[in-house]
Symmetry: C2
Subunit: 229 residues, 2 copies
């Protein structure tokens, strides 16, 4: 029987790559996003990450248990306390980054298999103060707190499951290229490198970091390293 | 000329005590909250901490610069990922704790005097994982991130200002007593101890912790200690 993966944000640059990678490897894939993913074995389109939609998703997937659940949703926007769009930038980051992590945490409590893996996307840049991007910073430290909280014995995850945060420095995505076209892309992390590492952790439990780990992902001259914070 | 303090959440148990304390000491006090504070020299009633209301407050106070701005707003509710009210508990904590901190940060950028002090209320319990209170934990680590971010040189605060977080273990308030009536209140922190310390920091800059500090507040046998994290 094939293994199952659920990818929250499965139609974004990172999420779609994860769906592609695991599908190619013979896993059964479920993508959840605002728009459909035609590669996934099952694609559920949602309008937001709030309670009603998450309960609907959990109900629709009720018969399925997942070996891996990945939150690949999110985005970036800047904004300091003196920025014209400060409040909007904070709300946008809470909606894009925190709400998806909160939703994924809920689904993990309902749908993760014992011994399963749940991975959230944090941010290396939120390990330090973030005065120029208050909303991004708070949404990502909040995500890191979710990772560490779900790693506790009484978190509500099934027995022997693992909660991990991946903290990219910067991913090589179309939207990041559009925003920073003059960067050296050799120092950006290909989403395939992330998908490959997630596949390794998902397939072979002996390769997994400790429960609650935050793992920085950094690429230099096309070489990607994964480092425990 | 008297010094000025703005207390966000100035009608709550902690905020009202701060207003009382500073008013008694001859400071000019402004309270901002959902209901009026009749002790404060000026009381501004708001309906929420969102952009429209915060811009209105900043406009109304435009002629005033504050020596101290304190965010004393907030509350507590539990909820793990498997709790019946998980999503509601998260939203409640974001609304009560994070939104008030985001609003206070904005007002600090507009209204704090050079050399002034802005203080946010974090939580000692959010220094570790919070599986039984996900919403509270994420809202408070987010608040800690705001404290540290505003301490950076390019944060948008005026020159020589100071951003500090106070992290109570538990405050002795009517709502906490109602929730935990059988506790030993000798180990709860009187809000007057907090107000007194804030007054010390506000009045004498030599007593202040370093910029960006998180300060745990713990009481044992009626003795309260303030400890840098």
């Amino acid at each position: 029987m094939s293994k199952n993966i659920l990818v929250f944000g499965g139609s974004g640059a990172l999420g779609a790559e994860i769906v592609n990678f695991f599908t190619t490897k013979g896993w059964s894939t479920v993508a959840i996003d605002f728009r459909a993913n035609t590669v996934a074995n099952k694609s559920i389109v949602i309008t937001n990450s709030g309670e009603t939609e998450m309960v609907r998703v959990a109900t629709e997937l009720n018969a399925t248990k997942f070996d891996s659940i990945i939150c690949a949703a999110g985005g970036w926007t800047g904004g300091s306390i003196t920025s014209e769009d400060y409040f909007k930038s904070v709300q946008k980051m809470l909606d894009m980054n925190l709400s998806s992590a909160i939703g994924t945490a809920y689904l993990s409590g309902k749908l993760l298999s014992p011994g399963g893996l749940v991975v959230f996307t944090g941010a290396n840049s939120a390990l330090v103060p973030t005065p120029g991007m208050i909303g991004y910073g708070v949404s990502k430290v909040a995500t890191h707190q979710i990772v560490k909280s779900l790693a506790q014995a009484d978190s509500g995850l099934p027995a022997n499951s693992l909660s991990i945060g991946i903290l990219p420095v910067i991913l090589d995505t179309p939207s990041n290229r559009a925003g920073m076209p003059d960067s050296n892309f050799d120092n950006w992390t290909p989403v395939s490198d992330v998908a490959s590492k997630l596949f390794e952790w998902s397939s072979d439990s002996t390769t997994r970091p400790a429960n609650g780990s935050l793992v920085t992902i950094e690429t230099k001259n096309k070489a990607t390293t994964f480092t425990l914070v």
